[in-house]
Amino acid sequence: MNKTSWLTKIILVVVLMLFIGLPFLLLVLSSISFGWQWPNILPESFSFRSWEYVLTGSSDTWRAVGFSLLIAVTVTAVNILLAVPAAKSLVRNQLRAKWLFEAIIFAPIVIPPFVAVMGIHLTFLRLGLTETVLGVVLAHLSPTLPYMVRAVVISYNTLSVDWEDQARMLGAGTISRFYHVVLPHIMPGIAAGASLSILISLSQYLITFIIGSGQVVTLPILLFPFISGGDPAIASAYSLLFAGIAILTLLGMDAALKKYYQKKKTATGKA
């Protein structure tokens, strides 16, 4: 047992280093390199010029971060509003043609959304939705909504109707029931769905590019020219920033969820 356990541990550490550590380290090294000739394993000299350029030199960065987050958050908020009632209906009611509704909602998981976006592009153009944040938000909805619905459905499935009935019997109306009983229970599902929704929205390139027509510059749009043959140091810095924002958003979501429950737990305190 001990021998195998040590062996697996060593294998895991090595795999982890190659798998996660090396790529990350490489990005960091590359972002602070100042000239890195082949075949040197380390850069000849270091400099923070790429970070200076990314963080302060160009106002594009923060505009792109702002656009990306604005779009991701708006998309996610709309998703929550759409998904919670839909999930409730799918879980709680015996619907006619339920399979059809599920097929419709989950179709964008299977069919690549850019197909629909290219199809609707000209219609958006005529409606004046291209080159606008609103247009991009609308385009981001269909690739993200299915995941949100799925996450909330899973949560709803574990909440027996008895809980709501119990709250009813204690005099809780529709809003109170939702706020005091349903919401605390499905919150982890909403958070999981929101994380996915934000991640997917943040990393959309093609859809944003088609509908935003280069005018709505999100992080992937800003990043692309750099990583496809631009300055490697700047490309690396942008990559790190982009990945960092994605991870930070998720961690932030996790922390917010924990805080929500802590607040719930100590709502009265030791009054």
Partner: protein, 294 residues
């Protein structure tokens, strides 16, 4: 009346959104792929875009490339993902839950990293003057940059395959880990009583247990890579290009006249993914991936 229609009203906003934005787009694209486009005065239906597409060698080259990349990507991701999951499972059996939790999180990191960033990491590692090439040169294994094989922006698509293997392996391990977690510790003891070593345990019990879930997860990766755009766009070559990139090229580089062809390509792509999706759904239901593990 209200009681009866209420569930449908609750569904309406979500369904409406998808129908309008997604199926509306599909339908819009379908009409235009047949050349029906009233805005520019085209009101006839013709299958010209489809026949042209199916007769072009570009299309078939693109389809072959797409299938090859999707197959290899999902296979590599599948093997790597299974190794990660089984290692984590064995580790979990011998350590405290807190530590193994941390391991899980670390291995899931690639899931959260955007595809373009993942692609760029592969560029830095595997391009001819990349990090791996530098290491090999320092070690004296290669002498020239050109001695290192072209793995990025290569016609075979190695760069794309490597990126997906890296990005999707954690997804596979995430999908099969719950099945592994249901293998009870006591089974392992029973196995040991019968004289099974660690390898026997993995071979006789763990692998058969995860096979259905693994197959489904790998197939999901296949379907996803089949229709993904960003990574091949970054790491591929202009010709041949995978179907989504080819569609994009047709859509943007040509004139309005090329657009029906791009949209026709999209419809074919959508049809293939729907088919693949149905296959996944059918088998995941039929095998009932978690059956017998409750």
């Amino acid at each position: 009346m209200w009681q009866k229609s209420k569930p449908y009203l609750l569904l309406l906003p979500a369904i409406g959104t998808i129908v309008l934005l997604f199926f509306g787009g599909l339908f819009d694209g379908l009409l235009k792929s047949f050349g029906y486009f009233p805005a520019i005065g085209e009101t006839r239906f013709e299958a010209a875009a489809y026949t042209e597409l199916l007769q072009s060698s570009e299309f078939w080259a693109s389809l072959v490339l797409t299938l090859r990349i999707a197959a290899l990507s999902s296979l590599f991701a599948g093997v790597l993902g299974a190794i990660i999951a089984i290692s984590l499972f064995l580790l979990n059996e011998s350590t405290k839950s807190g530590t193994s939790q941390l391991w899980h999180r670390l291995f899931q990191l690639p899931l959260t990293i955007p595809h373009l960033v993942g692609g760029y990491i592969i560029v830095l590692l595997f391009m001819q003057s990349g990090f791996l090439s530098k290491i090999l040169a320092t070690a004296g294994i290669i002498d020239e940059i050109t001695d290192f094989p072209v793995l990025v922006n290569d016609p075979f698509g190695w760069g794309i395959i490597l990126t997906y293997a890296w990005k999707e392996a954690p997804f596979i391990s995430l999908m099969i880990y719950p099945v592994l977690a249901r293998i009870h510790r006591s089974w392992r003891e029973v196995a040991r009583v019968f004289g099974a070593g660690s390898w026997d345990f993995v071979h006789e019990i763990v692998l058969p247990a995860i096979l259905p879930a693994w197959t489904i997860a790998t197939f999901i990766v296949f379907v996803f890579t089949f229709s993904a755009f960003e990574v091949p766009f970054l790491l591929g070559v202009t010709y041949p290009s995978v179907l989504p990139v080819y569609s994009y090229q047709l859509y943007t580089s040509g004139t309005l006249a090329d657009r029906p062809e791009a949209l026709a390509l999209n419809i074919i792509l959508a049809a293939i993914t729907i088919l693949l999706g149905i296959v996944v759904y059918y088998f995941s239901k039929r095998w009932n991936v978690l059956k017998g593990w409750d």
